[in-house]
Symmetry: C2
């Protein structure tokens, strides 16, 4: 049995306590400064309000001010903050954690600095104190894993990616249950690029739901699965291009992190919902301000985070615009308030 700290008490961080508790580990759930209410609620009732489940009695909640104590003697840290919390996490881990303890990220996203794209484990590493950077082992968990479903012990299949196979095997063995199935991969770049981009592309697939509602019903009541499926296929194709570009492996694209996670994300959720609102005819800004003001729409956040860098890479000829018509359309919609125009005839141009 191991001592595991989850840093971030949001839905995904809390959901992963379920397989850990089932495996008999000593689990600590550490809140960020934004999680005070949640930690208090778990202390009081053992109930996670947003996830809708009871937290196991063997999970100990820690408030923000007790994170140093929470990190003491742990064997593994799971990072469950959102993409905006990575810098904070680097500071916190650098202050309190021994650099020998591996850290696995649930956090999804990419960063752009205007010249390059970066995966979040790399951003985290850069934020660590100098002495930690080379020592700390960073891994990441990706794949179709909707938090409420994992918390309900639905069969969930994910990939644990990192650089040290023996370490990955040890971590996977701690987390694996009869319903939580883990594969390991040393393609952390491919996994991270896939699981970040799926949110952005799910927004594009989601447009179709809005178009369908807006259009007059045809007399045969036809759906628009053909249209959504073509966007899905182009999305996967573009993810493949970007994974190639960033040095990842195609295997990640065509298994759980790419195809699997994109499929799950297109079936429900906030990215699809934002796509629907834009498909209905709203601008991104209007839809966000009026219909989803409190929601983090990860696909749109990603477009805002990497859009300028993507445009710089396209302008500089480092990325091939012909390979990325759908990404360009989404960036235009989110960053420049454009109406969604899908350039069908330019799809699948890359050989």
């Amino acid at each position: 049995m191991a001592k595991i700290l989850i840093l971030g008490a949001g839905v995904m961080g809390t959901a992963i306590t379920v397989p850990m508790a089932d495996n008999g580990h000593t689990v600590r759930l550490g809140g960020t400064h934004l999680d005070g209410d949640i930690i208090e609620e778990i202390h009081a009732s053992r109930f996670h309000p947003r996830l809708g489940v009871q937290v196991a009695d063997t999970v100990t909640p820690y408030t923000y001010d007790r994170l140093g104590e929470a990190m003491d003697g742990v064997d593994l840290v799971i990072l469950g903050v959102n993409s905006q919390g990575v810098d904070w996490a680097a500071d916190t881990l650098g202050t309190w954690l021994s650099p020998q303890v591996p850290v696995a990220l649930l956090t999804k996203g990419l960063a752009g600095d205007g010249q390059k794209l970066h995966i979040l484990p790399e951003v985290l590493r850069q934020g660590l104190p100098r002495g930690y950077r080379d020592q700390m082992q960073l891994a990441a968990i990706g794949g179709p894993s909707i938090a409420s479903e994992l918390a309900a012990r639905r069969h969930t299949c994910v990939v644990l990616a990192g650089s040290d196979q023996a370490q990955l095997d040890r971590i996977a063995a701690l987390l694996r249950t009869p319903y939580y199935h883990l594969w390991t991969s040393t393609d952390i770049v491919g996994v991270e690029v896939c699981v970040a981009l799926k949110n952005l592309y799910a927004l594009a697939v989601g447009l179709v739901a809005g178009w369908r509602e807006k259009e007059d019903e045809t007399h045969n009541a036809a759906a628009m699965h053909n249209t959504a499926s073509a966007i899905f296929a182009q999305a996967l194709w573009e993810i493949g291009y970007l994974v190639d570009y960033l040095g990842g492996q195609r295997r990640s694209v065509y298994t759980l992190p790419g195809a699997g996670d994109l499929y799950a994300t297109c079936q429900s959720g906030r990215n699809s919902h934002m796509g629907r609102l834009i498909g209905l005819g709203m601008s991104y800004r209007h839809a966000k301000a009026h219909y989803m003001p409190e929601d983090t729409v990860e696909g749109a956040e990603l477009a805002l985070a990497i859009g300028p860098t993507i445009e710089a890479l396209l302008a500089g000829g480092k990325l091939d615009g012909a390979a990325l018509p759908l990404l360009r359309a989404v960036v235009d919609v989110v960053c420049h308030e454009a109406a969604p125009e899908i350039p069908w005839e330019t799809f699948f141009a890359r050989v």
Copy 2:
């Protein structure tokens, strides 16, 4: 403008008359011996009862006994029969059609002879008279194209595959409209394998809907998208293996014929519905006899058609069983009345 005959007046054959008529072609819709009622109805009211749309005035319906006349002077034949009709189509085309006229198949399926798997254009070619076999140009159309949606002019993206690029370009130009988008490919094997197998694998993804209904509601009302997505990803991975095995190209797997068509097929339809019934706990035979007696469940038909050949190829070591756990599970369910057991831990074994 061209003269085009569609052979088979089912939903897909009739749907494709919509872009053809919009392009101003002279279109003939030829019924098989099973389509008598439909052809009569179109003569009487211009309405296709199963598709739910009016057929354009420029589409001339032909009954079975007038197919010789219907084939006279045409520039292109589109084959819209189902997989059981390929032998009949070969006889009919061999009797009435000039071998210089290209034939494009909408028909999806694979055949197994106990030793090998065959794509349907190959089966059709073998059924042609000797003098025709080397002369007739066969193409195939594949990709996410639900008939009712194409008939409603929803954006639909497909691949036209064949061996002669110039011929493919000519045919694509005849069919392309602002809503019917065609790409060409010389990978007819890859396209045909993908679009056939998607039906079988959609049945597997559909199991999850039945499991979800059958299980007690958890108190957080969790869906099962994680579970469905893992099966979807494994399905795509296995399709890739089988396309490799049969000499097709990965590009077909990861664009419209594979990823796109599998996505569309998992969103609705008879294969998903059969999967749901089996997921609820019925045997395939019971579900078919009691709930879908009149329906052609293409994924199950395919499992029955190729199951024995797949098993022979596995037994002979020609196919690697470790690469195909999901296919084996579906064949067991459909051919041997097994309960669906998903061997999660064996997924993604192939490197």
